[in-house]
């Protein structure tokens, strides 16, 4: 593990000498975000090259589904790019453990990021960070503001208000109260359980306690979100059991549903589809009692690290420092509304809905999805089991208590708290 660092340091001293006018060094970025190719080429890279004329950057994405396999093959063959876009948690941790991602703990820009933001790209003990956090997605509820105004409804802040709003929409009958289906399962877990859950398990406190083994999935705080999900059933559209994710998106964008439990990544998708048909608003997951601290899932999704075998570690680090800077956060956040920079820097976003989402970071405590770190390493896989359990609970075929007991039993069968750091 230490070797790459030494190599990097040696390379630094070697390069420090002749800093005269040279041809620019070319850095290549490996990424799965091929959707963002235009944004990188037109906005981000020109901005970087303008201030760093000695470095030329090339963004070379692969298709998302092939990325992990292609990257591993390239890294093994020594033909991977200098900069590596990092998947969160285990996929990148494995690369670091193999010595293929460089340790970036000492990067100055790391000070711009909170511990939660860095946790997706750290060793289990948090001692080494190997990717610079780039973006996260925030969960919450997007709603049809025009419909709310029509029915005289306010954004709910507590769970009781939330259900009162749902009741009123249902009573009125013009709109489906909430657009969600259980066919694809992941929405139930990601946009349901992981969306409302942090308010019950107090964000990081509960998530860490679960990893430490001091809390169990059968504890009240972890069962309560399932209990709320079970109540959602009555407010979903007819035949929600067979409703898919695109169905739910369409129900909302066509103005047939009033509330859409979601994540911020939809902003960029919904904007052009809805156009001027109606106005969108967003509210964070409602808390149990008025005045409670609110918690949001601000899930770390994309980071960027350095290939330990790069020929230009110095320039690569320069680029990474820039990625950690407020300037990058500003550029990236506006180019991709809904993918929020993880930096602590104050960022002004142009999109009002994106502004709304990011403003929750000031009011609420941030956490990440509870199943992503460490707890989904074994079989049965906790994340995938949670999909199934959440969908079952919403459909009413499994009680919240049974679902929680099943998840805990599955987790206990392979996970022994305390051994995680090894």
């Amino acid at each position: 593990m230490k070797k790459p660092i030494i190599a990097a340091i040696l390379a630094t001293t070697a390069l420090a000498g002749p800093a005269l006018a040279q041809d620019p060094v070319t850095l290549t970025i490996e990424s799965w975000r091929n959707d963002d190719l235009g944004i990188w080429n037109d906005t981000i890279i020109p901005a970087f090259e303008a201030s760093h004329p000695n470095i030329h950057v090339e963004f070379a994405p692969t298709a998302p589904a092939e990325y992990n396999a292609a990257l591993n093959a390239k890294l093994d063959a020594g033909s991977a790019g200098d900069l590596i876009t990092c998947r969160p948690f285990d996929a990148s941790l494995e690369l670091y453990n193999k010595g293929q991602l460089a340790d970036l703990t000492d990067l100055a820009a790391m000070a711009n990021f909170s511990d939660v933001a860095k946790s997706a790209w750290q060793t289990d003990d948090g001692a080494h960070t190997f990717c610079v956090p780039m973006a996260s997605v925030i969960h919450g509820f997007i709603y049809n503001k025009t419909a709310f105004d029509e029915l005289g409804l306010q954004e709910p802040t507590t769970v009781d208000e939330f259900f009162a709003v749902l009741d009123k929409i249902k009573e009125d009958g013009t709109y489906i109260p909430m657009a969600m289906g259980t066919n694809d399962q992941w929405e139930a877990a990601t946009m349901g359980y992981q969306n409302i859950g942090p308010n019950y398990w107090h964000g990081e406190e509960g998530r860490k306690a679960l990893i430490a083994g001091t809390q169990k999935l059968t504890d009240e705080d972890w069962v309560a979100p399932f209990e709320q999900l079970a109540r959602w059933k009555d407010y979903l559209g007819d035949g929600f059991e067979a409703q898919t994710y695109p169905d739910s998106q369409n129900l909302f964008t066509l103005g047939r549903a009033a509330i859409y439990p979601t994540g911020s990544w939809e902003i960029g998708v919904f904007r052009p589809q809805i156009g001027d048909a109606f106005e969108m608003g967003a509210f964070p997951p409602p808390v149990q009692n008025a005045g409670d601290t609110c918690y949001i899932s601000d899930h770390t999704d994309i980071g960027i690290g350095m290939n330990a075998a790069t020929a230009h570690p110095e320039e690569a680090k320069e680029f990474l420092e820039w990625v950690g800077s407020p300037e990058f956060a500003q550029l990236y956040g506006n180019a991709l509304p809904g993918f929020f920079p993880l930096s602590n820097a104050q960022v002004t976003l142009d999109d009002p809905l994106a502004q709304e989402f990011i403003s929750w970071r000031d009011q609420c405590e941030s956490t990440i999805r509870s199943t992503y770190q460490i707890l989904s390493r074994g079989t049965p896989n906790l994340e995938n089991e949670t999909w199934n359990a959440s969908a079952n609970v919403i459909r009413g075929t499994e009680t919240p208590a049974d679902a929680a007991a099943r998840l805990q039993q599955g987790l206990e069968s392979w996970y022994k708290p305390g051994e995680a750091a090894q």
């Binding site: 948690f89 285990d90 289906g181 259980t182 066919n183 694809d184 399962q185 992941w186 559209g237 007819d238 035949g239 929600f240 059991e241 067979a242 409703q243 898919t244 169905d247 369409n250 129900l251 199943t371 992503y372 989904s376 390493r377 079989t379 049965p380 896989n381 906790l382 994340e383 995938n384 999909w387 199934n388 969908a391 079952n392 459909r395 075929t397 499994e398 599955g410 069968s413």
Partner: protein
């Protein structure tokens, strides 16, 4: 002077391409898979993977669930697809039927469609939100019969099996149709002379003559169903929802071998499942070959 015949090299030469290609793309991978199932990341472990698969409740529960669903999938095909296929073939071979070529083509077309198209089209037809199934039922006042068929544990698997039947009913139809056409007119005329016509001709003369074809269709259906994967994956995803109600051996294998979402792939356990599938299919085919096929009487015309 019967000189000993020279070694007939041409036989080996002509067989070689097929044998080599088949060995390279079928036999070697098959043994590779069997071999893989005896290893774990740490090395050779004997039958430990199978002990996990059948002994660990988390694995065995999923395996038996997938097998049960697979058997049900097969039963639906045998009870619905093949009788309908035979019926259609019998109707098509009737000389009084007009437009027979058109029907034959129309019924056979779904078979050549991609699974992706079939899965997607049926998902849309049955969609409670946009589908034409609910509105058509409403038009005839039967809306109460509509349910989100693909989203309920009780109905999802049967619905998917019926979609698969819709897609593949053309194959038994064509095979039986060909078998029916190969029955010489003399046989049928002789039956007619004996006063056997209409349906009784079908039951007493034609059906016994096409039994070998039905046997072949059954075994093709068996192998096809126990290797099925595509339709379920397209319609319900790798987690084969709702609550694994549509999980069959193919989707279970895929999930295990390639991994899914945060679950990393496990090639060794995947190979163990593939081996179990291979043995199940092998057993089924053996039962057919030795217990059924040998008892079928064949008629030469």
């Amino acid at each position: 002077m019967a000189a000993r015949r020279a070694t007939r090299w041409h036989i080996a030469v002509f067989l070689a391409p097929a044998v080599l290609v088949y060995t390279a793309v079928m036999i070697l991978p098959l043994f590779g898979t069997l071999n893989l199932s005896l290893y774990r990341a740490e090395g050779f472990v004997g039958l430990a993977n199978f002990r996990t698969l059948f002994g660990d409740p988390h694995w065995s529960e999923q395996f038996w669930n997938a097998l049960r669903n697979n058997v049900w999938f097969f039963i639906i095909h045998m009870l619905v697809q093949n009788p309908i296929g035979i019926l259609l073939a019998a109707l098509l071979s009737s000389p009084r039927l007009r437009l027979a070529a058109f029907y034959r083509t129309a019924i056979f077309i779904p078979t050549i469609l991609s699974f992706v198209i079939v899965g997607f089209v049926w998902k849309l037809i049955l969609s409670p939100i946009w589908g034409i199934a609910p509105s058509m039922l409403q038009a005839v006042g039967l809306k109460f019969l509509f349910q989100p068929f693909l989203g309920q544990e009780e109905t999802a698997l049967t619905t998917l099996a019926l979609i698969s039947v819709w897609q593949f009913v053309g194959i038994p139809m064509m095979l039986i149709y060909a078998a029916l056409l190969s029955i010489p007119d003399e046989v049928l005329e002789a039956a007619e002379m004996d006063g056997i016509t209409g349906w009784s001709r079908f039951w007493k003369v034609q059906l016994p003559l096409i039994l070998p074809a039905i046997g072949i269709i059954s075994i093709l259906t068996f192998v096809g169903n126990f290797n099925a994967f595509d339709l379920i994956y397209v319609a319900q995803g790798a987690l084969a929802g709702p609550n694994f109600a549509t999980d069959i051996l193919g989707t279970f294998l895929y999930r295990t071998f390639f991994g899914f979402q945060l679950q990393l792939g496990d090639p060794n356990m995947g190979a163990a499942i593939a081996t179990a599938m291979f043995l199940i299919i092998l057993a089924g085919v053996c039962v057919y070959l030795f217990a059924i096929q040998t008892r079928l009487r064949r008629y030469q015309f």
